[in-house]
């Protein structure tokens, strides 16, 4: 290679590498601010500040949703397998909200095990499946649908298992 070009190439690549390292360090240092929400583990362990506006995220625990029949009040527990706490919310939940679903809630942590939400968002996972395939999987006793025969619940259980599996394997606690 022509020496002038070689020098230019080395210079350009050095600038790029330097910038990439700088950006990488900045993102790493700011990741607590860039992360959209605190995980249940961080809430339970005391890493998340009490009495501050923030977001928390996790999976809605099966069987934990309690609604007040008179009002829009709803209380449910969220977990990531390493910690669990209650969220209280008054308002209309998104369509995708169900037990086993991943959610992100915006609000205030009142105590280590109770969060007062002003807004609840449903988090969709990366799985796309037609309803017939889901039924077939359950009939065939696929792990995603196993244990369904006795429980007689809706299809949220299989979803939650698939989700929590990917949740814990994709996102080890840092």
């Amino acid at each position: 290679m022509n020496p002038v070009r070689k020098q230019r190439l080395i210079l350009v690549l050095a600038i790029l590498a330097g910038l990439a390292v700088a950006v990488g360090l900045a993102v790493y240092a700011l990741r607590q601010n860039i992360n959209l929400f605190y995980t249940p583990q961080q809430v339970v362990s005391g890493e998340a500040p009490v009495d501050t506006k923030m977001r928390v995220g996790g999976l809605v625990v099966d069987g934990s949703v309690r609604r007040n029949p008179e009002t829009l009040d709803v209380t449910f527990a969220v977990t990531d397998g390493k910690g669990t706490f209650d969220i209280h919310y008054r308002g209309i939940l998104p369509d995708l909200f169900r037990e086993g679903q991943g959610i992100v809630a915006n609000g205030t942590l009142i105590s280590r095990d109770r969060f007062e939400a002003e807004e609840v968002l449903a988090k969709h996972d990366e799985t796309y499946m037609p309803p017939e395939v889901q039924d077939a999987l359950e009939k065939a006793g696929h792990p995603g649908g196993a244990g369904k025969a006795g429980s007689g619940s809706d299809d949220s259980e299989g979803y939650s298992r698939g989700y929590s599996e990917s949740y814990s394997s994709d996102r080890p606690a840092d």
């Binding site: 230019r8 790029l16 959209l36 995220g57 992100v104 969709h124 796309y128 037609p130 309803p131």
Partner: protein, 249 residues
């Protein structure tokens, strides 16, 4: 093999050869891309099965994912063109850098808009400042910045040098867009399509998605060729071959 690639590289680096090559390819590329895109979209939007939880609203994936991937790949291509333009001062790389930007910017905008429209019924919000969405917005701004830089500087070679730097540096942001959902806690879900390993989408939904992606990428390629041809003619307007071409009866 290496020799063939090298010969191609040098031949396509010549504006005359590129013009002839693109004249031969374009009449095929453009109709094929439109047909492939139409097949993929019609299959995905009308015939693919509904999704178990989202119902029909998931179908926006057939526009959102092709547009997002096109915007990301277009930016990477601009970064490579920028590197070649800076180090080897190759004219065709400068032309390509300019030709890649407008369609890529449109795709980034389409990705953001379709994502917001899907986010409202699915998540319950149009927009959150999560890492994926914010970095995608930055990608759109980078595209717009490159277009603005190129129109702000009159001398095309100077303009290309400034834009090359921005294009190369911006590739870091593409990496952030891609891995934000894995490294950080985001509202946006992880990748459904995986290059290695099994994709977490049913086959009946996956094939129309792959066809739509291919169609849009081909359309992007056709658009880049068309823009590059105009740019080549403009830059080489004083050259003998362009004069001959224009004065042809």
């Amino acid at each position: 093999m290496w020799k063939t690639i090298k010969r191609w590289y040098h031949q396509l680096g010549s504006p005359v050869y590129f013009y002839r090559f693109s004249s031969a390819v374009l009449p095929w590329l453009l109709p094929i891309s439109l047909v492939v895109l139409a097949v993929g979209l019609a299959w995905g939007l009308a015939w693919a099965p509904v999704e178990r939880y989202q119902g029909d609203s998931y179908r926006i994936i057939y526009i959102h994912v092709p547009a997002s991937s096109g915007a990301l790949m277009g930016y990477i291509a601009m970064g490579v063109a920028g590197l070649v333009a800076l180090v080897w001062r190759m004219k065709m790389a400068e032309v390509m850098l300019k030709a890649l930007a407008p369609f890529g910017a449109v795709l980034a905008a389409v990705s953001l808009v379709t994502g917001a429209l899907w986010g409202k019924p699915t998540w319950g919000t149009y927009w959150q400042w999560d890492a994926r969405m914010t970095s995608m917005l930055i990608l759109l701004f980078l595209y717009l910045g490159i277009i603005a830089l190129q129109s702000a500087i009159r001398d095309p070679r100077q303009a290309a040098r400034a834009a090359s730097l921005l294009a190369m540096v911006g590739v870091i942001n593409v990496v952030i867009v891609k891995y934000s959902v894995e490294w950080l806690q985001t509202l946006h879900q992880g990748s459904t399509l995986k290059v290695i390993g099994e994709s977490s989408i049913d086959d009946a939904m996956k094939w129309p998605l792959l066809i739509s992606m291919l169609g849009l990428w081909l359309l992007y390629a056709a658009n880049v060729l068309m823009r590059a041809r105009t740019e080549v003619l403009n830059r080489e307007r004083r050259a003998g071959w362009v004069r001959k071409l224009v004065n042809r009866p």
